[in-house]
Symmetry: C2
Subunit: 244 residues, 2 copies
């Protein structure tokens, strides 16, 4: 199986990312996180695996929501060092999540927040998530929206002379594959997949699709900053809840 | 339930549409139709309902594929007059498919080709399709791609001075609702829905999602006419196969 890029251990990326996540008005905090938690089943007494756990903030919330076991997996040593320091009661494993063969137990719920767009072999990954779930278990994930990952030249907007957004420049939606983009640093490798590619991989692996979300900003947040309105042209995130 | 617009009985639209469908290199014939039939289960001995059957060409093919009963439904008198003349062995019903209460039998397979984007109340429609299906029955549909229906100002492309396509001008993807577009004639009413709106309506109605397709042109057709390449930036159609 392919090895994933470990961009989070790049020092410049790590520092930039740390700053971004700390911002309460980041798209993560405003759009992605509330949507992810809205999809969560009752966690009391459940075992939870978090793939691409980063700093472990979500792991801590799963625990606070009553999960009996929470295990976080991430490829980045720097991210896990922070996670372990901040959440000493949670088990973290440093590993490449594109190969889950190191996971010997089964879990009731598998979460993955904003990590799937780094996976090269999506079909194999989805199959392996299915394997680690208990029967009836849930897989809940978020990823960059396929309209964000589509353009080979990178996501961009057309604006008028006053800087007002006119439209999103959509290209290459039907061309699945690697995208090299600049996000904090150059050369971040991501993988673009169409909706049909994602849906068919989940169905083929045996999952039953339950819910899809493409969150939009609330009226409250738009009133604070009108620039959020452009997310109604092109959402930032795709989330799915599927069941084994 | 809302009444659907009957644009196909507009004489100008009808004539224009007739010409378009006759073209072997229309997007319908090159992309949509092969994809729709690729999703069909074995039809021998099955009962088939075709919602928005138009001229009844698909009905005739379902019959040729062995279906024991084929019933076509369409709102347009002009379309059905052609259908009845060309396919006297098939039963056609003139009705607004947004309300299926007139259907008293159950069907093994329900098809709907390029009609769903005319439906205002998608959730109610999907529920009523579920009702007319036999247990284990399939609903297979195609519709305009959500990226096509998204822009409130209508689908359009940015081109350079030589007429080469640069990108698709995406706007309003997250704003579900009515779209008034010009297609053959002015004022054709369609409804835009996001992927999540479509998926969640199907799941809520009780359907199991099996396959999604967003067809792209073949290499063969691109060699005939390079302008097909732009469909890799933004597909024309969305197709789904779901099961009761």
């Amino acid at each position: 199986m392919s090895k994933s890029q470990n961009i989070y251990d790049n020092q410049t990326f790590f520092e930039g990312y740390k700053k971004l996540r700390g911002n309460p008005y980041s798209a993560n905090n405003v759009e992605e996180k509330p949507a992810l938690f809205s999809l969560s089943p009752e966690l009391a007494g459940k075992s939870v695996l978090d793939l691409g756990c980063g700093y472990g903030e979500n792991c801590a919330e799963f625990k606070a929501l009553g999960a009996s076991v929470v295990v976080g997996v991430d490829i980045s040593e720097k991210m896990l060092a922070v996670a372990m320091e901040e959440h000493p009661d949670i088990k973290f494993i440093r590993a490449d999540m594109s190969n889950l063969s190191f996971i010997k137990d089964n879990y009731d719920v598998v979460f993955s927040s904003l990590a799937l767009h780094y996976m090269e072999d999506f079909d194999a990954f989805i199959k392996s998530v299915y394997e680690v779930l208990t029967p009836g278990g849930y897989f809940i994930f978020s990823q960059e929206h396929p309209l964000t990952t589509a353009p080979i030249a990178g996501a961009s907007w057309a604006k008028d002379e006053n800087g007002n957004v006119l439209h999103y420049k959509l290209t290459d939606y039907s061309r699945c594959g690697k995208r090299s983009t600049t996000w904090i640093v150059d050369g971040v490798e991501k993988y673009h997949r169409t909706f049909s590619k994602i849906i068919n991989a989940l169905c083929s692996a045996g999952f039953t699709i339950e819910t899809m979300l493409e969150p939009t900003p609330t009226q409250e947040i738009i009133e604070l900053d009108k620039s959020w309105e452009k997310d109604f042209h092109k959402p930032n995130f795709l989330l799915m809840k599927v069941r084994k």
